[in-house]
């Protein structure tokens, strides 16, 4: 492994993926970004299985940007799986979605999400939101030490 993945972007829309990565790059926030186009792929990556079986739990992403409406396994299910396992439960997760429907917001927080952001329609505002999220979680926030949770026994999934 050359570079460690800094951000896992779980997003099924290629346009949103492109625009999000563009905003992150422009602000020189993250170099290594992994994209998962559905919930199942995201779980494979996080739990080092399937096409990601060569990964280890000792190098988790610093941030998961999680869309809610996803094929196969939806965003809230992915969040629940992350929080249910001792090895992944400390990973910072930010929900980034078109919806700000109250029941999704409540469900997200009750599952232990770190932040809930609605994607603004206006591109300037969208870019600004991405920049602020990246700045905070990559530069300001202190991430959990790598490997601190890696050896714990699996409790779910």
């Amino acid at each position: 492994m050359s570079n460690e993945v800094e951000i896992l972007l779980v997003e099924d829309s290629p346009e949103d993926v492109e625009l999000t990565i563009r905003a992150l790059r422009r602000n020189k926030i993250a170099n290594e970004i992994q994209v998962a186009e559905d919930g199942a792929e995201a779980l494979d990556f996080l739990f080092c299985r399937g096409s990601h079986q060569n990964r280890t739990f000792s190098s988790p992403p610093k941030l998961v940007l999680l869309d809610l409406k996803l094929p196969k396994v939806d965003g809230l299910e992915v969040l629940a799986a992350i929080r249910a396992d001792q090895r992944t439960k400390a990973i910072p997760v930010v929900i980034l979605t078109s919806s700000k429907e109250q029941k999704d917001v409540i469900k997200g927080y009750s599952l232990g999400v770190n932040a809930f952001v609605q994607k603004p329609v206006d591109f300037e505002q969208f870019g600004d939101a991405i920049r602020q999220i990246g700045m905070f979680w990559m530069l300001i926030n202190q991430a959990p030490p790598p490997g601190a949770f890696a050896e714990s026994k699996a409790q779910g999934v």
Binding site: D16, S98, V121, F123
Partner: protein, 473 residues
């Protein structure tokens, strides 16, 4: 029970009571009749006793005159002793009958005369012997006076018997009449009770039927309400997901236009850049529309969380917020006293924000804008009003004022999505109130609203307007 069946029951009761009274009276009457008959018998008995007494004195006197034996004077003396008490008793028994009283007085005289005669003969026999006594019997008109007594007594008896017959006949007639009245009355009362029973039965049947009908109608209504409420919720969530799903492609249009401007802007000429700008503006405007539509739909689905709210404090807060965004404008705020009321403070704040923002917007061309908020009373209801001296509008279009995406001004003149007043109306309606407006072109506009009894159930927010609004999407 209807008044008709009540009348029938009352009638039956009256008849039964009448029969009871008649029966009682007839019982008393027949008791009286029986006593009368017994009384007559007593009188007859006494009269018979008087006759026997007189006859006894008579035969005693004869025996003595014939034999001179003193033992014959015994029955004579007994008859003499008893006759007066017996007459006296007969007199008392007929005290209520003047005719019989007269007859008894006559009888007494006759008896006294007879007794005096008999006493005289006995005296002659005792003093002068058999022959003189027999002579006295023969010569005196003795038998005539005895005959007079008998006749008088017989007359009295027949009078009493006549009376007895009359009484008996009357008693028989009245008891016959009574029987008829009781039988007929009972039959009538039974008939009326039967009729009342039939009427009540029919009425109960009708009422049951009506109740069943009512219950069915109620069930239908409840079902319909539930269906409508469900449809309403479906429509609201349809509107929501449409609006929601529209956001993603919009974001992409806006985003890629921006990318184009950033990456290829220099390569485009002025016209190309102007077209790109239009693209970005269009996407932004549609974004605002979608956001407004989302909030409108959200209000429809939202439950009211009611609390006692002082509208004064709420209004001051909004005036401060709205006023802050009006730097460079000269606005005179005239804020009157408002009242406290039960409402959803978040939504009520939205009402004031939208109305005051409108007032600010449509007074933009006034050098000195005046915005007035206060309360007044109309038809015993408290009415809140928001008045401005802005551009106003033509009253012929007032119906369109509260429609979704309806605008009475050109976008070039005044920006807006046409959802603000629709949101205000929806909130006011949810609170059981009403909103209306009055205006004149160039003379300003006034919005009035009332707050009624707020509903807690979104299902009551049913109706075609929601559908119409969705159709506009």
């Amino acid at each position: 029970m209807t008044s008709f069946s009540k009348a029938i029951a009352a009638c039956a009761l009256m008849i039964l009571l009448g029969i009871g009274m008649l029966s009682y009276r007839s019982t008393v009457r027949s008791q009286e009749d029986r006593e009368g008959v017994m009384h007559t018998h007593l009188v007859l008995e006494k009269l018979q006793a008087v006759l026997i007494d007189v006859t006894q004195t008579e035969s005693g006197q004869r025996g003595y005159i014939l034999t001179g034996d003193e033992k014959y004077l015994k029955p004579y003396q007994a008859g003499r002793d008893q006759v007066h008490p017996n007459i006296e008793e007969a007199r008392k028994l007929t005290a209520d009958n003047p005719r019989q009283q007269d007859a008894i007085r006559g009888l007494k005289q006759l008896v006294d005369a007879r007794l005096a005669l008999l006493g005289g003969r006995i005296e002659i026999r005792r003093t002068t012997g058999l022959m003189a006594g027999a002579e006295a019997v023969r010569t005196s008109d003795s038998e005539e006076s005895m005959e007079g007594i008998r006749e008088r007594i017989n007359e009295m008896r027949s009078t009493e018997e006549r009376l007895l017959n009359i009484r008996l006949e009357a008693a028989i007639a009245s008891s016959r009449k009574m029987k008829a009245v009781i039988v007929l009355g009972n039959a009538l009362a039974t008939l009326i009770l039967l009729m009342a029973g039939v009427v009540i039965h029919r009425e109960t049947g009708r009422r049951n039927l009506a109740e069943q009908g009512l219950n069915r109608a109620k069930e239908r209504l409840e079902r319909r309400t539930a269906e409508l409420s469900e449809t309403n919720i479906e429509l609201e969530s349809f509107a929501y997901s449409v609006a929601h799903d529209l956001r993603a492609p919009l974001r992409h249009i806006a985003g890629y236009s921006n990318v184009l401007t950033e990456d290829y802007g220099p390569q485009l000429d002025g016209e190309g850049r102007r077209h790109l700008e239009k693209l970005v503006n269009g996407a932004q405007k549609m974004g605002r529309l979608v956001d407004d539509l989302l909030s409108l739909s959200k209000i429809g689905r939202q439950e009211l969380s009611l609390e006692a709210v002082p509208l004064d404090a709420l209004l001051r807060e909004v005036v401060e917020e709205v006023g802050r965004e009006c730097s460079g404008r000269e606005i005179e705020w005239r804020i009157g006293d408002l009242f406290n009321t039960d409402c959803d403070p978040g939504l009520m704040k939205q009402v004031f924000v939208n109305l005051l923002s409108n007032a600010v917007k449509y007074t933009a061309r006034r050098k000195h804008a005046v915005i007035e908020v206060g309360q007044t009373i109309q038809n015993d209801k408290r009415v809140v009003f928001v008045r401005d001296n802005g551009v106003g509008f033509e009253m012929q279009y007032v119906d369109k004022l509260f429609g979704v995406f309806q605008r009475l001004h050109k976008a070039r003149d005044f920006e807006g999505t046409g959802v603000g007043l629709a949101i205000v109306q929806r909130i006011i309606r949810k609170h059981g109130g009403r909103i209306w407006a009055e205006a004149e072109v160039d003379q300003g506009a006034t919005f009035f609203f009332t707050l009624g009894s707020p509903e807690n159930n979104t299902s009551q927010e049913i109706g075609l307007p929601v559908k119409d609004e969705v159709m506009h999407v």
